[in-house]
Symmetry: C2
Subunit: 182 residues, 2 copies
């Protein structure tokens, strides 16, 4: 009994330490975010049946990191994620102003139709816009293989582990017959 | 000696027959060119070292043809060709009006600088524009694996063989660090 509780306590400590380390890693990842990434890898994912395919460019700082298994795994995960989650943009800054305005108008109209008081209306629209970015921006989507982390967090964890800034510069996602998509 | 010449003649006949058949095939391919292509395959090509990758959607009329080895081979060939030849557009009609105008202006200025008489200047510009399309449009490029045929002819041969219209709807080509490219 005593042994069990000691074990439980030790496990708790370990989990806590991991959280601290992860936070520290992600914080240090933040510092690396401005460093330029000119090396990297182009990866692809073709879904079974070849009706859906993805091409993605993931960048890092050195050719050395680009060749590590960890980096290659990230590229594979991202390509697979993009196939499954169908993002429209890499990050919030990439969403065209016209798309944002259109979405805001839709959400404003919805809030008005729902008869919400004007005081809270703006807050609600803001919240729904956050939700919208989460749906259409790769970096804000929950990772399909582990939906408690976003793609941004997944990448930050790799930055912490590999010690280099990592960015996604672009992707293409083709589905047969779906020629309007990017 | 007699045997040899007979053989040579037979070979000549065979080559001639092939040309006729090919012409006939390509002619019948032309007739199929208006048929809609909603099925197909998304293929990719990642060049050794993963610094360059291509994604391409090739369409045909039926799922049955999409699954044939012939069609799959075409998709692989096209992806590889795009990686090597770096086209900017699928076909002439896809080139933006602004790009055409800019190129025409460049060629006109060149012709004037070369002091060509005005009578022939227009013809020369026309010829150089043809050359330009051949360089930037996938369908007009000579196939990298067999540069006596264009991609358009390569596809027409497959149309003749498989009996279905085949089209390339889109492609993406990513080279690491080359973020301006399409």
């Amino acid at each position: 009994m005593e042994c069990k509780s000691a074990l439980a306590e030790a496990k708790g400590d370990l989990a806590e330490a991991e959280v601290v380390l992860r936070k520290r890693g992600i914080a240090s990842a933040g510092k690396k975010a401005t460093r330029t990434t000119k090396q990297g890898v182009v990866g692809s994912y073709i879904h079974a049946g070849a009706q859906l395919g993805v091409l993605v460019e993931v960048n890092c700082e050195s050719d050395f990191v680009a060749r590590t298994d960890d980096f290659q795994e990230l590229v594979r995960d991202l390509a697979m994620h993009i196939a499954a989650a169908d993002p429209q943009f890499v990050r919030r800054e990439d969403v065209a102003e016209a798309v944002i305005e259109k979405e805001k108008d839709i959400q404003k109209a919805r809030v008005i139709a729902e008869g919400k008081p004007e005081k809270v209306a703006e807050k609600i629209v803001e919240g729904r816009m956050s939700k919208f970015y989460e749906e259409v921006c790769l970096m804000e989507q929950p990772f399909v293989k582990e939906n408690t982390v976003t793609i941004d967090q997944l990448i930050k964890t790799k930055i912490a582990k590999l010690g280099e800034n990592i960015t996604v510069s672009r992707f293409a996602r083709f589905k047969v017959g779906d020629t309007d998509a990017a």
